[in-house]
Symmetry: C2
Subunit: 209 residues, 2 copies
DNA sequence: CTGAATATGACCCCAAAGGGCTATTTTTTG
DNA sequence: CAAAAAATAGCCCTTTGGGGTCATATTCAG
């Protein structure tokens, strides 16, 4: 059974090339190709894989990802674009894209990407993968520098996130409840928050603990 | 000028195969290969790319990444391992690996990876890329747990996580503070918690919002 | 060595949160 | 339609938390 492919690309020339490229392989079958998201949603039927441009008239490819995913929940989405900036890459990934390939990539790699996402993997061209990974590394750096809190404050922060009351924290650390409260006040000031709920949200979202 | 490659792999058989594979290409040159991190650090000299196993005697490949990077700051590190769990993948990336390839990958892909990282990109096999991307998407675990809560309760949960007081929540939802308190009590009962700090921790850890 | 940062502890005040009730209206669902 | 679930709102009382100010011992870095 051939892999069915849908294509959304507004440049007619390039769209034709894509259709030709993908159709040239026996295992793949282009079941539709359109110049806009709206047409694809309206007229396209369930594909295994969608090749999706980002710069499109009216609705962008980024917005279309969720739409396609909700309409065809099993379809894999491969972004195929010239855009290789952090915003577009990360947004596509967060929205659920399974692959992100640059148009300048060698055509064989586009076919590889189709196969890879169809097999349940993800497909990223090396330069895109690089960006994704460096985003990770930056996250780690921020984590490390986030130690504005003193050792004691971090201990108490951990207790707060565990849901302990001040009395329990005091008992656990063998200090008075007053001292716990003072540390908490200092933590609040440093993190610019005003309640335990806020401090827990901040600590977990910014992976401070 | 050929790309110089260093290899750290403790299985002698597989190490030999790797040396043979990489050396078979004119553009690549294996300048050293060792069975442990310690040997590589001591005897190896600056390579362009290091192929690095994770399961190694004494020091693991994960720990070695930082070491190699500090010794040879321009060297690219490609993990080559059978481990494809989240911990190993993410740790390798956070520690600065430029590639993560599974041993079961087709040999040509290993050579591709060397070229890709040498060219300044990153190399991930599709299944690894998949894991990295799903980490990004913050793929909420089971939705069932969240659906214990009613729509209203989820709205209020979101407000709590945002750090709002009951009064603010009431004002925002155009209901009385008492009603907010009642909803919160119900949320606490359903989630088996007893404070806002606990509910925030639970909601964020279990990705309920 | 000395001053700054940290850790400890206390006081007051009152706002906020939490637990236990009951009760009505609306919405959902079998 | 009738029962169940959800949303609304009120009451009581107690505990906890948040903000301000002050004070002392210890630790750490210039």
């Amino acid at each position: 059974m051939a892999v069915s492919v849908g294509i959304v690309e507004d440049h007619a020339e390039f769209r034709k090339s894509l259709v030709f490229l993908v159709s040239s392989i026996e295992d793949y079958k282009v079941i539709w190709s359109f110049g806009s998201v709206e047409e694809a949603i309206e007229k396209g039927y369930t594909p295994d894989v969608v090749l999706l441009d980002i710069n499109l008239p009216r609705m962008t490819g980024l917005e279309a990802i969720a739409l396609f995913k909700s309409k065809w929940s099993d379809a894999k989405i491969v972004m195929l674009t010239i855009l290789e900036d952090e915003y577009n890459i990360l947004t596509a990934i967060k929205n659920g894209a399974d692959g992100y390939i640059l148009k300048k990539t060698n055509p064989q790699k586009i076919l590889d990407a189709i196969q890879q996402v169809f097999d349940g993997g993800a497909a990223l061209t090396p330069m895109v993968a690089k960006q994704v990974l460096s985003f990770f590394k930056d996250e780690k750096k921020e984590q490390e520098q986030a130690s504005i809190l003193t050792k004691r404050e971090q201990e108490i922060l951990t207790c707060i996130v565990s849901g302990l009351t001040n009395d329990k924290i005091a008992a656990m650390l063998f200090i008075s409840t007053q001292t716990v409260r003072n540390h908490i006040k200092n933590i609040y000031e440093k993190l610019h928050v005003h309640s335990k709920a806020q401090v827990v949200a901040k600590a977990l979202k910014e992976k401070m603990i």
